[in-house]
Point group: C2
Chain length 209, copies 2
Amino acid sequence: MSMKVKGLLIVVTGPSAVGKGTICSALRQEAPEVRFSVSCTTRSPRPGEVHGQDYFFISEEEFHEKIERGELLEWAPVYRHWYGTPRGYVDDMIDAGYDIILDIDMEGARRVRDMYPGSVFVFVIPPSMEALKRRIIGRGTESDADAQIRLQQAPKWIEEGLQYDYVVVNDDLQTAVAHLKAIVTAEKSRTVRRGGALIRRLLEKGELD
Amino acid sequence: MSMKVKGLLIVVTGPSAVGKGTICSALRQEAPEVRFSVSCTTRSPRPGEVHGQDYFFISEEEFHEKIERGELLEWAPVYRHWYGTPRGYVDDMIDAGYDIILDIDMEGARRVRDMYPGSVFVFVIPPSMEALKRRIIGRGTESDADAQIRLQQAPKWIEEGLQYDYVVVNDDLQTAVAHLKAIVTAEKSRTVRRGGALIRRLLEKGELD
């Protein structure tokens, strides 16, 4: 189909440690037609990593210039390095008609919501607060004190999910991935998106191809 | 899950002869958890047909009383008999938390939209006007003159699809059914529907079960 319809920006977010990255990785394997954002990072490439495919590897100076020029949708430090989502790559994908998924934290999601009001926001929740607690502690990437703070703040974060479009429970991974896939498929069928373009094309050309 | 969440009313509509019935029948086999409306009819049961399962078999007098009492969502004559969708059955299913699909013509869909503003409307379009024409003629259930009128009116009907929520193309049946299934799954995940109820339950009880 040669219709010029923009791609969909799907933001997957949720409280820290809820497992949104795992869902997105699984979707990546099942839905190769969906693109994923390629992040910028200031860390060095590991053996086998390809610039522009795994990451855009840039210097710390370039990274901060990008922030200043508004070229990053969102960014965060992880250990001693910076990671961020380049706006240009996302825009290029959308303009080319590809659907692209951003797996980002809630602060980043808020920023994207302001910049791309037409995006779809999927909020991932745990099956229980206890499960989230186990995941936060199980990560072992932070001190006990940090984990305690995250646990205390978890209800506040989860409540923020009421502001987003969809809720996916990360209990059974396959179910969660199936729901995320269904959301992408359904959103594309919406009349306000590709659905309406199909109707207009059918009326204009008499056919869809 | 014992949450009291109402079921979803999904209305599948589209121009006459577009094949929405075929899509709904296929979905029925693939998604047994989705209910379908049981129609009222004034015709007699055929061997094996069960009252309340295949149809509600009622007299012509009862049928017209139902219309007068506002108990039918929509109705239409087919040959010498009446067919209609009983409101009570649909309401009972929704209240019991079942998702229910109505496969109805566009006039019926308009009426349901006024009565159930929270419903989801899926509009089925043909892959081409030529394909729709073949289907209208191929049905052979109407005179050439009637078929001509339908063909002439088709663009006007299809344009009305812009007012509904989703568009599904009836080209490849499996794709169309997959899209309809995805729409049902995604709609249930919406924060304004079950998704938000899940968040509130997680915050109140600490778990979803």
